[in-house]
């Protein structure tokens, strides 16, 4: 069938992904609600399109995997913003590194322990453990440990949306006033979406938050295998 020929070519999945993402970025432009998360909306729209048309995932994957390839180089590229903020990191090294390290350990441990408490399977636990850090890195970590990459992407986005929603209230309740602390808390718990909220709070908060993404990414990479084996997973 001719439709099959079209959808099974790499051009299909490649084009569909870009088109759907641009569509949501256009629709949500200017909106401030974190619930309108373009990543989750795009993912579920593409799934709906594939399911409704009966196009197999394998067809979509042919084109989409070209895009996934760039995740690796993209992670390497994160060295550039990290380098540009290195002076800020050096100036506040102790509070920043202490805050991010504690946050990363809490993030991974609480993910593991709560999942164990609920009696979830090893696959879910491993997919949950690295969810605090940016998708690009956590997906890789989840895969290495035998997790489900798509589950991890979902958990990462839940963390991002929730952090975006509650940060202002949390900081009020805890009496967090330091811009450095606000940014580090957001970037460590809620990665890119948290950084968006931090930028809304102020420039210093935003810079600290994006710095935290890079540092937390590296620390999560180190601590995920360590904590998993510590908890006997």
């Amino acid at each position: 069938m001719s439709l099959n020929l079209i959808t099974s070519s790499p051009l299909f999945g490649f084009t569909l992904t870009i088109a759907v993402m641009l569509f949501y970025q256009f629709i949500f432009r200017g909106t401030k609600t974190s619930l309108l998360n373009p990543v989750l909306f795009s993912i579920f729209s593409i799934i709906a399109i594939l399911m409704l048309t009966g196009i197999p995932y394998e067809h979509y994957h042919k084109g989409a995997s070209i895009l996934s390839f760039f995740l690796g180089p993209m992670i390497v590229a994160l060295a550039v913003p990290l380098y540009k903020q290195f002076d800020k990191l050096k100036a506040n090294a102790l509070p920043i590194l202490a805050g991010i390290s504690v946050g990363v350990v809490v993030s991974i441990s609480s993910g593991i322990l709560l999942s164990q408490l609920f009696g979830l399977s090893r696959e879910v636990i491993v997919s949950m453990a690295p969810k605090g850090t940016t998708s690009a890195i956590s997906m890789n970590l989840s895969q290495i440990q035998g997790g489900d990459v798509s589950m991890t992407v979902t958990f990462v986005n839940i963390a991002g949306i929730f952090g975006y929603m509650v940060a202002t209230k949390v900081y009020q309740l805890l009496n967090i006033t330091s811009p450095v602390a606000k940014g580090i808390g957001l970037g460590t718990s809620s990665h890119a979406l948290g950084t968006r909220r931090a930028l809304e709070m102020g420039e210093e908060e935003g810079a600290m938050s994006s710095l935290a993404i890079g540092v937390a990414g590296v620390l999560t990479t180190v601590f995920t295998p360590l904590l998993l084996s510590l908890f006997g997973i």
């Binding site: 993912i43 995932y57 760039f70 690796g72 180089p73 060295a79 990290l82 509070p95 809490v106 929730f162």
Partner: protein, 124 residues
């Protein structure tokens, strides 16, 4: 051309990271190691910021696009969520809250101890 040169440096760091990981069997992504290598190259001045920045900015701007395809894999994993949707939501939300609280409190605690040395405290 400059952008392509930067892209090549990024790819080489990624490749070197992957080779080291493959040889050592460490359970971490080669790309994160590649990121650290590029950071060191930049800090030591071996690679100039201007060389890699255009390519890096382009890659980072497209981050969401590179993540989407793996998210779509969820359509093959829906059955795994059966009966655990509420649980995983609670865990993800609670864990995120604990992370935000602990990292911001610790950061504030240590920055308050440092600040007075630089004079100009608002307290008192």
């Amino acid at each position: 051309m400059e952008r392509l040169k930067g892209f090549l440096i990024i790819l080489l760091c990624n490749l070197a990271g992957n080779i080291i990981i493959m040889a050592s069997g460490l359970p971490i992504p080669g790309s994160v190691l590649g990121m650290l290598m590029l950071l060191i190259l930049l800090l030591t001045g071996r690679v100039k910021l201007a060389t890699v920045e255009p390519a890096a900015s382009l890659l980072i701007a497209f981050m969401l696009l590179f993540i989407l395809p793996d998210g779509v894999k969820l359509m093959n994993s829906f059955h795994k969520f059966e009966g655990i949707v509420a649980q995983v939501l609670i865990i993800a939300v609670l864990s995120t809250l604990l992370t935000m609280v602990s990292s911001s409190l610790v950061t504030q605690h240590f920055s308050k101890r440092l600040k007075p040395k630089q004079g100009r405290t608002i307290n008192k």
